[in-house]
């Protein structure tokens, strides 16, 4: 149900719209182009991935969406509103969990709410109810150092969710996890996404991860980056991990691999 719905939706109402975004940096007196006309859309409640070779400018693109850097050319429109600031629309989850070591899990996940000036008690109550869904029940008062890698990433995702933004930017969130934990986390991420229904823009360089999770995938060229391939993932949801061996899945994988390594 979700794939078709969200595609219909994004056509009318993209929550992330990048049009011809270009960016270059001056390095040693020379201009080094990083992004070359990148155009991307993410619809309401849609799961979209971005794959690119490492060093292709994915992080720069994320910084631009987050409002930390300005593009040289092109437009960034969030939630259809040109005046909307990134801080009001976007919640960001980096590869490193970046949990504050001096805060308990509970106080870490409400960080964005505290920054927004919401009452701590209210945010804590809300967070406590969600702990089981994020597999963190009983760890509310633990410190991040006491958690496993997978749990830390779940806490980081919970913090991202609790920011109450419509757009989640996930920057290789499982990149540092071992393969088994990573697979579990992917399945779990889909469950969470399914129940919260936020738009997810997901950066990865893992092709299988991108196909397994996404409604649509953008593939970037090496620097200076532009979109070389844009494809729909028409695999039925809910997906189980077994689908990575399905013929459709493998066909998509082949297509992306060819795009990433042009002959």
């Amino acid at each position: 149900m979700t794939t078709r719905d969200s595609i219909n939706k994004f056509k009318s109402d993209p929550v992330v719209l990048l049009e011809g975004v270009a960016k270059s940096f001056v390095v040693g007196g020379r201009s080094l182009p990083i992004l070359d006309e990148v155009s991307v859309r993410v619809g309401q409640g849609e799961f979209v991935s971005l794959i690119g070779p490492s060093g292709c400018g994915k992080s720069t693109l994320f910084n631009i969406i987050c409002g930390l850097e300005r593009p040289d050319r092109g437009r960034v429109i969030l939630a259809g509103n040109e005046n909307l600031q990134a801080v009001d629309a976007v919640s960001y989850m980096p590869q490193k969990d970046l949990l504050l070591p001096w805060r308990t899990v509970l106080d870490n996940v409400i960080l964005a709410r505290e920054v927004a000036g919401d009452g701590r008690d209210k945010a804590r109550r809300e967070a406590k109810e969600l702990m089981p869904q994020f597999g963190l029940a009983g760890f509310e008062n633990s410190y991040p150092a006491q958690l496993s890698g997978g749990m830390r990433q779940r806490a980081a995702l919970m913090r991202t969710m609790l920011a109450h933004r419509n757009i989640l930017l996930l920057d290789e969130p499982f990149g540092a996890l071992d393969a088994i934990t990573r697979t579990k986390m992917q399945q779990w991420l889909l469950e969470v996404w399914n129940s919260f229904r936020r738009a997810v823009f997901f950066i990865t360089h893992d092709i299988e991860e991108a196909i397994f999770l996404s409604d649509r995938i953008y593939v970037l060229t090496p620097r200076s980056a532009r979109v070389t391939l844009h494809l729909n993932v028409n695999l039925p949801r809910p997906r189980r991990y077994e689908c990575v061996t399905a013929p459709d899945f493998l066909a998509l994988k082949k297509q992306i691999m060819q795009a990433l390594t042009p002959v």
Binding site: S91, L98, L100, W102, L111, V115
Partner: protein, 256 residues
């Protein structure tokens, strides 16, 4: 837990110290060195026991000056560190001056402090503050600077103001470094107070030492030194305790 602390008692350090004391005692006795020149440890111990009430009485004044000065140093250092974190421009202007100021030997300006503040507790407090300020300020500023840039970025994307970033992120992140600097400052504090008292005072361990030295009572001077060391050690332990209570997460992490 108990086993841990037993292991941590520095047995070899105590053994070396015992050997040195025995050597000292023997050397003085064999050479027949006069006690006003170098008293044997046994004589120092006797002097310590005899003058203990007097030493403790004087310690009160010195300790008060040391603690007041240390507190002042911490307050000024924290305020300055936060101001520098709020404004990079102020930081650029102030930080080099701060480092440069450390090239002035504080002992040499102590006579000026007597001219300005008289012979009461004030000049002692100022000496202690000047001595302790630098390690605390530097450790706090450096600690805040060493905070994870990605965490700062994360807070920025959450829409945090500069002040929120300082309060939620930079200050807690700098606390381990701050306490490291505070421990150094704590060991300087008693020394600063005693130097302040040498310049002129009516009470305090510095005064006791000056009087004992003038009377060639070297054993009493050594007794005062022992008391100063013990109090400095206590200050150090107190700061360590406060640190463990304030940043338990840091000690837990380190134990791993």
């Amino acid at each position: 837990m108990i086993k841990r602390s037993v292991n941590r008692i520095p047995v070899s350090a105590l053994a070396i110290m015992a050997v040195l004391l025995v050597f000292w005692e023997a050397a003085v006795r064999v050479t027949g060195m006069p006690a006003w020149f170098l008293p044997p440890p046994s004589r120092v111990f006797t002097a310590l026991m005899e003058t203990l009430p007097l030493l403790l009485e004087h310690s009160r004044y010195t300790l008060l000056a040391a603690l007041t000065g240390l507190t002042m140093a911490v307050l000024v250092a924290l305020v300055l560190a936060v101001v520098m974190a709020l404004s990079p421009r102020i930081r650029q202007g102030v930080y080099p001056l701060l480092v440069f100021s450390q090239t002035i030997p504080i002992i040499t300006i102590a006579p000026l402090l007597v001219i300005w503040f008289g012979f009461g507790i004030m000049p002692k407090v100022v000496v202690v503050t000047l001595v302790c300020f630098f390690p605390v300020a530097v450790s706090m500023v450096e600690g805040m600077q060493a905070a994870d840039a990605d965490m700062v970025k994360l807070l920025q994307v959450m829409g945090a103001s500069r002040w929120q970033i300082i309060r939620l992120m930079l200050i807690p992140a700098a606390l381990p470094s701050f306490f490291a600097g505070l421990k150094i400052a704590g060991t300087y504090a008693m020394m600063g107070a005693v130097i302040g008292e040498w310049l002129g005072a009516s009470n305090g361990l510095g005064v006791f030492m000056t009087r004992a030295a003038h009377a060639y009572k070297a054993d009493s001077v050594f007794a005062a030194i022992i008391i100063i060391s013990l109090i400095s050690l206590l200050l150090f332990a107190l700061i360590e305790l406060i640190a463990r209570l304030t940043i338990p997460w840091y000690y837990n992490e380190r134990r791993k």
